[in-house]
């Protein structure tokens, strides 16, 4: 699963109120949620994103509430992958469950600049920064989470298992 896009760099502890403020929690449609993505810190963010772009987070990305509207908003906005130093645990599960890709790669996060172009392969975890020419290896995704990704999300995965 290969993705490529321009990066938008954020800092540490980006919380779910930053990603999607609570006033939008009555929305379940991912495209509408996407039009409010990151509104808590950058109201113009969604206008600048092109399909396939990448969010770079610092440590503890997605901390705070369990709202699944947060990864849905990121996915609905057109982001292909979030690369961060670390992720909050509920956000980590939620993202893969709904089909948003995440990679942990502290080295890349340290080096990358806002607007760099990154290409990655989720299965092998190799990331390339086209702007700087450097290559990185992300922390491996646990095998059973790769299975969830391969099955198209948690619900198809569960239904396959219980059949």
């Amino acid at each position: 699963m290969i993705f490529k896009g321009r990066t938008f760099k954020f800092g540490d502890n980006i919380d779910t109120d930053n990603i999607i403020p609570a006033k939008y929690l009555s929305i379940t449609n991912e495209i509408i949620l996407g039009s409010h993505c990151m509104e808590g810190i950058d109201p113009e963010f969604h206008r600048r994103v092109v399909q396939g772009d990448i969010i770079i987070g610092g440590s503890n990305f997605g901390c705070g509430s369990s709202r699944e509207q947060a990864p849905l908003a990121i996915k609905g906005c057109g982001i292909s992958c979030v690369i961060s130093k670390s992720f909050a645990r509920i956000f980590y599960r939620n993202a893969f469950n709904i089909g948003l890709l995440l990679l942990e790669c502290p080295e890349l996060v340290e080096d990358v600049n806002d607007g760099d172009t990154i290409q990655g392969d989720i299965r092998v975890g190799i990331l390339k920064n086209f702007t700087s020419g450097k290559e990185y290896t992300a922390n491996p995704i646990p095998p059973f989470i790769l299975e969830i990704i391969n099955d198209g999300g948690l619900i198809p995965h569960i239904m396959k298992k219980i059949k």
């Binding site: 919380d15 109120d17 379940t28 509430s65 369990s66 699944e68 849905l72 939620n94 619900i155 569960i158």
Partner: protein, 423 residues
């Protein structure tokens, strides 16, 4: 090899003799909870599978609490959607406005959770139930939908951080101050993916309400769960509620030779009440160091500090006094039962006399939902759990977190201040 209380509960629910940190296990879920903001997505995912029955209608609890009384048409539609689903699925424990309250206060008070249980909720503050010596953690809507189908979920066994408190709490110090101090020591990701085990002599001085407050905020240090070891205070709390629960109770202990990721010691002797400054719960200072921070709003309530004990502390400070003329004070008893008790104890009248306003049980203001949203540059001192940017309203508003005594004292002073200054 010895196990911690968390490992023991997980092993039992996985049908294993032994588990070790890092191991991926499949566990049986005793109780599952959804609310009006996480529930609709979970139900949509559940319905997409074509299923017509949840794994056990007596073990899926549905609570309407975040946007009740319905704040707008969209919230009303979500509440109606879940109300219909609860009827359709014959959900035994469905709580709507009038019987309800904030989930994390309501479920323990209703006796739905017992020590030794494994509880999953579609809300990050599900960790609150660790105060009952249960394993409890939050998940998102799709994870919860899969449990609605199978009654099971996967977990990675967490490492446990042992947090030992020493010393006797001061007069105006409660569980909120201990947990704020702890988050300050660990940082907001200091316990990421870990269990926090709260112990030490100081715990003996804390009632069950303070313990709920502490477990509630374990997630603010990134923890998977926060848990207390059972004692007499817990068993007294549980005994009053086993009538309605009629469930097995297992009091687990951590083994002497259990393995901990690390040991953190926190001495609270002589510690003042603590306040978390925006924009993180780890940004903590003793109240006396905060000089002249004028406030526009005070909020006392939430799953963190909306219990009767919290209201009694606030009432003690506010009795016979008036709040500052520039301050709005909102008080929300967490459940219908707490509201009724506060009424019969005369607390609500006392709050009204002081110049406060009483709201119906709801999560509303804590997450900037409704009933107390902040304007740009407004400051609020709040007994809640999060002070992220824009948490209670406009992104230029600010939230300071404190215990109910400090919040009530600040209401009188018009600035953040200590109970000592007014009592």
């Amino acid at each position: 090899m010895g196990m911690t209380i968390t490992e023991k509960i997980l092993a039992r629910h996985a049908g294993l003799e032994q588990v070790t940190p890092g191991q991926i296990i499949e566990v049986d879920v005793d109780l599952l909870m959804i609310n009006d903001v996480s529930g609709p997505l979970a139900v949509q995912a559940f319905k997409s599978t074509g299923r017509d029955r949840v794994f056990d209608p007596s073990r899926l609890v549905i609570v309407l609490d975040h946007y009740v009384p319905n704040k707008d048409v969209a919230a009303a539609e979500q509440a109606a959607f879940l109300t219909n689903f609860a009827k359709e699925m014959e959900i035994k424990y469905f709580y709507k406005l009038g019987q309800s309250g904030i989930e994390h206060v309501l479920l323990p008070d209703e006796g739905l959770i017992m020590p030794g249980d494994l509880v999953i909720g579609a809300d990050s503050h599900t960790v609150t139930y660790g105060a009952l010596s249960a394993f409890a953690t939050g998940m998102g809507s799709t994870d919860v939908a899969s449990i609605m189908i199978t009654g099971k979920t996967w977990l990675k066994v967490p490492k446990t951080i042992e947090i030992e408190y020493k010393g006797q709490p001061g007069r105006w110090v409660s569980g909120k101050d201990l947990i704020l101090r702890t988050i300050a020591e660990l940082g907001v990701e200091g316990a990421l993916y870990c269990a926090m085990e709260f112990k030490g002599v100081s715990i003996r001085y804390l009632g069950q309400a303070s313990r709920f407050t502490m477990a509630n905020m374990a997630v603010e240090a990134g923890a998977k769960n926060g848990i207390f070891l059972p004692d007499g205070i817990l068993s007294d709390y549980v005994k009053e509620r086993t009538q309605t629960a009629n469930r097995r109770i297992i009091y687990d202990e951590s083994d002497r030779d259990a393995t901990y990721e690390r040991h953190v010691e926190i001495n609270i002797e002589g510690m003042e009440p603590q306040v978390a400054l925006p924009p993180l719960p780890s940004n903590v200072k003793p109240v006396s160091e905060l000089k002249n921070i004028r406030i526009d709003q005070v909020f006392i309530g939430s799953c963190t500090n909306g219990r009767i004990e919290d209201l009694r502390i606030a009432a003690k400070i506010l009795k016979g006094k008036k709040i500052h003329k520039d301050v709005r004070m909102i008080i929300i008893p967490a459940t219908q039962a707490i509201f009724r008790n506060a009424l019969s104890e005369g607390l609500l009248e006392l709050f009204l006399d002081a110049g406060g306003v009483i709201g119906p049980p709801t999560c509303g203001p804590c997450l900037g939902g409704h009933m107390g949203v902040l304007a740009p540059r407004e400051k609020c001192i709040s007994t809640t759990n999060r002070n992220f940017i824009g948490r209670m309203g406009h992104k230029e508003s600010e939230v300071y977190l404190s215990n109910p005594a400090v919040a009530a004292a600040s209401a009188i002073l018009g600035r953040i201040g200590s109970p000592e200054e007014v009592f």
